[in-house]
């Protein structure tokens, strides 16, 4: 009941927010320098055909009207057309979004499999040598990860592993920054857009392996850099929870260590979850840079190309997707947090 009320309230705000997002992007993108009609026809085209194209692209209408037209088309699944590549934006997005989401999802997976247990171990109050080794290891990590920009880490990796004669890694073992697959590999038939899933569906283990190996470096880069805030938050929250009165009391009552630990972890999980939501948003931006470094053809490269060539429709499509995606992630995070923590009031706005 409480949950239903909360969800209802959040969705009430979600719909106008989505409209607002699309409107803001629309206006912003219209402000990009350069006349797309002129750019698409080239500098030598006669003024009359540029005018004709402008009319066809509705560029001669006032912006609110252009927006309504765009909105109407968007509802029919038509996000416009890239004038640079002459492709439908919706098709591009369908092919590119899974690529970037795969990166983000795998990076989060690595964070949760590797860093979350590490955070819990290093927050432990028992001071045996195992804990101490991990504490020293992660101390260095915490410092490094906060200072190392994602693209820099990617470049450092490329440098040490592949740079000329100094490269430590033979290309047969780990492929260089050549994109999602080797030059001679064929993409599996498109089903979900995820290279791992699609190659499995196609039953092609060789491509699966190649895709997997090509994912290692970008995913590691993203996980290393963007895992740091999650790791630090969870560790400090866990330290706090293990020191808290309620943990001592749970021990005093004689609860099993496992229960004592999980109950402390539950308290630590709330703020960690909130920061994870923010990290996902940053991962989307990080993916833009990391894709660039590893020549990975995903959404980020698509957006950069769009911006560099003043290609309205792709930028509009991408930014809209990114904002709505973030919005939904925040929503999901808030819902889970709300379900987990009975102290959150229904009307409360999150700080």
């Amino acid at each position: 009941m409480r949950l239903a009320l909360y969800i209802g309230r959040r969705f009430l705000f979600l719909i106008p927010q989505v409209f607002l997002i699309s409107f803001i992007t629309f206006v912003l993108v219209r402000l990009l320098p350069g006349d797309p009609a002129r750019l698409s026809l080239g500098p030598l085209a006669p003024e009359s055909s540029v005018e004709a194209l402008r009319a066809k692209m509705y560029l001669d209408r006032p912006i609110p009207e252009q927006y309504l037209i765009w909105l109407e088309n968007a509802f029919q699944g038509d996000l416009g057309e890239s004038w640079v590549n002459n492709t439908e934006v919706i098709d591009d997005l369908v092919h590119r979004i899974p690529v970037t989401l795969e990166l983000i999802f795998l990076a989060l997976l690595v964070v949760f499999v590797v860093l979350v247990p590490l955070a819990i171990i290093t927050a432990s109050r028992t001071r045996n040598w195992i804990v101490r080794i991990f504490q020293n290891l992660t101390f260095g990590y915490g410092m490094l990860a906060g200072a190392l920009p994602d693209f820099l880490l990617g470049l450092v990796l490329i440098f040490f592993l592949f740079a000329g004669a100094a490269g430590l890694m033979p290309a047969e073992i780990l492929p260089g920054p050549e994109g999602r697959l080797g030059i001679l590999d064929f993409e599996p038939p498109f089903v979900t857009g995820s290279i791992l899933i699609d190659s499995l569906i196609a039953g092609d283990m060789e491509i699966f392996w190649s895709g997997f190996m090509h994912l290692i470096m970008p995913v590691f880069t993203l996980a290393f850099v963007y895992g740091a805030p999650i790791f630090k938050m969870l560790r400090s929250q866990m330290e706090g929870a293990l020191k808290a009165d309620y943990t001592t009391y749970a021990e005093a009552v004689g609860l099993a260590p496992r229960i004592v630990l999980t109950r402390a972890a539950r308290v630590a999980a709330g703020p960690t979850l909130v920061i994870t939501g923010v990290v996902v948003m940053f991962l989307l931006g990080g993916a833009v840079l990391v894709e660039r470094v590893f020549n990975y053809v995903g959404l980020g490269q698509y957006a950069i190309n769009g911006i560099v060539t003043a290609d309205y429709a792709p930028i509009q499509g991408f930014v809209c997707f990114a904002a709505i995606f973030t919005m939904l992630v925040y929503l999901a995070v808030d819902l889970i947090h709300f379900a987990m923590d009975p102290r959150i009031k229904i009307g409360g706005t999150q700080a």
Partner: protein, 576 residues
């Protein structure tokens, strides 16, 4: 005040942090003077010296335009750091007043103000849902890649952060007494907000500033790296890395390497600077509290040369004790400072003993030591703690756990903080029951309801689903009492069981505890700062001072004829 704190923080810093701090100021220095120190021109291409490896003339080599990289690295902080600092300053200047205004509207109440505040926050959410990097990229693309535009874009994406932080700080601060006072003397809301509340919110803002500057520098470099930020030939680290990255794979590493190192070090030193600022602004409240306690223990421990020898207990008719403590000593592990020394206690079955003493005298440490719950910072150095014929100090954790609650029960101070905020009363009781017996959820629930009835909670079945924040202090204390007495333990150790409760509730809870414990034949150790409670509820009273028991006697005798000057002193305090 602030200077003092800065000094104290600086002195407490590890050496490596001081080194990083020095480096931080080095980068600030380069930001101001770097361009003048460059030995070569930083923006003029020189085709004859393209991509030379590091040498005596060009310590960092030259880039694809033949420009000395060392010179460019010296000059680059001027671009990166200035953009980061100015953009952050701009976000603060815009975000802070907005945050105060929204918070004032929100705290004023009324449908109109609330609607305004809520709408504003949702709008902010919309802006924040644009991925920062992408949004900045679009903004720069729209308005052009000049330094001013990059600053505006970065300031824009960071402003909501400050609005949020200031808002939530001000919201909690306007309810504090000093704001009430400002209101009572007739200040207008806006004035209160900016003159009285905002200065108190500044520490949080300053901490956030130091974080944001580093982030803004990263953002600048990232934007320039993808070509959507500062354009060459302006010396800027992200753009320099991008131009060098092309040559990385073919072995000409220096063009990207040195700017990369510089960028990493800048962001790193700004990050550490932020952490140091955090320590200056928000010295850990908890740490100070324990420090103060230790200091208090030290001070009182210093001036007591006239204390008579440790008192011998002269209790009549002593039978086999439930709890016997001998020569117990506890120290702080780090400082080797003794917190308890030469503690002797003996508690008979069914009897009750009070332990009194001022705060900091070591009462709570004693409780934790008896219960084997000392935090890792504290350690037992000597003596023994015997419960019946078990030696608790050498007992395994597992067998100790089995005895907790069933035989040795504990009530710890401030019941509401003892209950996990995310665990309902029902879950807490059930898990306690299931820790000691194999019973199903259904039976546990029935038993839990009986237990809550036992401690006089009205409508117990309803209360099972309540969470700690929904309980009153007295109610929480009753829940803890139910937990403590669920198995009729032989020994109950209650540490300040009624601190923070109303006087009437105190009596109810203590009376209830006594009745239930006497029915079950439970021996009680009652730790309290309140002599009246000790006098009323205990057969014997021990007086603690500076980690020692200075006097122990039957209650009446102790109160009628105290032998130790400290006991006398305590009694005088009450009788005034």
């Amino acid at each position: 005040m602030v200077w003092l704190r800065i000094r104290r923080t600086l002195l407490s810093l590890p050496k490596w942090q001081l080194a990083v701090l020095a480096m931080f100021f080095g980068w600030i220095f380069l930001t101001i003077f770097g361009p003048y120190l460059a030995p070569f021109p930083t923006e003029v291409a020189e085709p004859t010296t393209r991509l030379l490896p590091p040498s005596g003339t060009y310590p960092f080599g030259t880039d694809e335009n033949g420009i000395d990289i060392f010179s460019r690295v010296l000059a680059a902080p001027r671009t990166d750091v200035v953009i980061g600092v100015v953009a952050t300053a701009l976000s603060v200047v815009i975000g802070t007043p907005l945050g105060v205004i929204v918070a004032l509207y929100e705290s004023r109440g009324g449908a109109g103000s609330t609607a305004f505040a809520e709408t504003f926050m949702r709008l902010l959410e919309v802006i924040q849902s644009f991925p920062v990097f992408v949004f900045a990229m679009v903004l720069v693309a729209v308005f052009g890649g000049s330094v001013t535009n990059i600053i505006i874009a970065i300031a824009f994406v960071n402003t909501p952060v400050f609005v949020r932080i200031v808002r939530s700080d001000v919201l909690s601060l306007v309810q504090r007494p000093f704001s009430e006072a400002a209101r009572a003397v007739g200040n207008r809301e806006v004035r209160i907000g900016f003159r009285h509340v905002l200065p108190n919110a500044l520490p949080t803002v300053i901490v956030q500033v130091s974080v944001t500057v580093g982030f803004a520098i990263l953002l600048t470099a990232g934007l320039s790296f993808v070509g959507a930020g500062v354009k060459p030939p302006t010396p800027e680290l992200g753009a320099m890395i991008a131009s060098g990255a092309k040559y990385l794979e073919i072995g000409q590493w220096w063009a990207a390497f040195f700017p990369g190192i510089a960028l990493g070090l800048i962001v790193f030193s700004f990050g550490i600077f932020g952490e140091i600022m955090t320590q200056v602004m928000e010295p850990r409240a908890v740490r100070r509290e324990t420090d103060r306690r230790r200091e208090a223990a030290l001070e009182t421990g210093g001036d007591e040369p006239e204390v008579p020898d440790a008192p011998t207990v002269t209790l009549s008719h002593m039978s086999e004790p439930v709890l016997a403590v001998e020569h117990l000593g506890v120290v702080a592990v780090d400082s080797r400072q003794p917190l308890l020394s030469e503690i002797h206690l003996a508690l008979e079955a069914g009897h009750s003993m009070g332990i009194v003493g001022e705060s900091g005298s070591g009462k709570s440490v004693l409780v934790k030591a008896l219960l084997q719950l000392l935090p890792p910072e504290l350690a037992v150095t000597s003596g023994s703690v015997r419960y019946l014929d078990h030696d608790l100090l050498t007992m395994s954790k597992g067998s100790m756990r089995a005895m907790r609650t069933t035989q040795i029960a504990a009530i710890l101070p401030n019941a509401k903080s003892q209950l996990n905020p995310l665990t309902s009363v029902g879950d807490m009781l059930r898990s306690a029951l299931q820790a000691h017996e194999k019973i199903g959820a259904k039976e546990a629930e029935v038993r839990s309801i009986q237990l809550l009835e036992m401690v006089g909670i009205v409508d117990p079945a309803q209360r099972l689903s309540a969470f700690p924040h929904e309980l009153s202090g007295g109610m929480a204390q009753r829940v803890c009492l139910a937990m403590a007495l669920m198995y009729h333990p032989k020994l109950l150790i209650a540490d300040e069981p009624t601190a923070g409760l109303d006087v009437t509730i105190q009596r109810q809870v203590l009376d209830l505890t006594r009745t239930l414990a006497e029915d079950a034949g439970t021996a009680r150790l009652l730790i309290t700062g309140d002599l009246g409670i000790a006098a009323h509820y205990c057969d014997t009273v021990a007086v603690m001072q500076a980690g020692r028991i200075v006097e122990i006697d039957e209650t009446e005798r102790l109160f009628d004829a105290p032998r130790h000057p400290y006991t006398q002193h305590l009694l005088d305090c009450v009788r005034v």
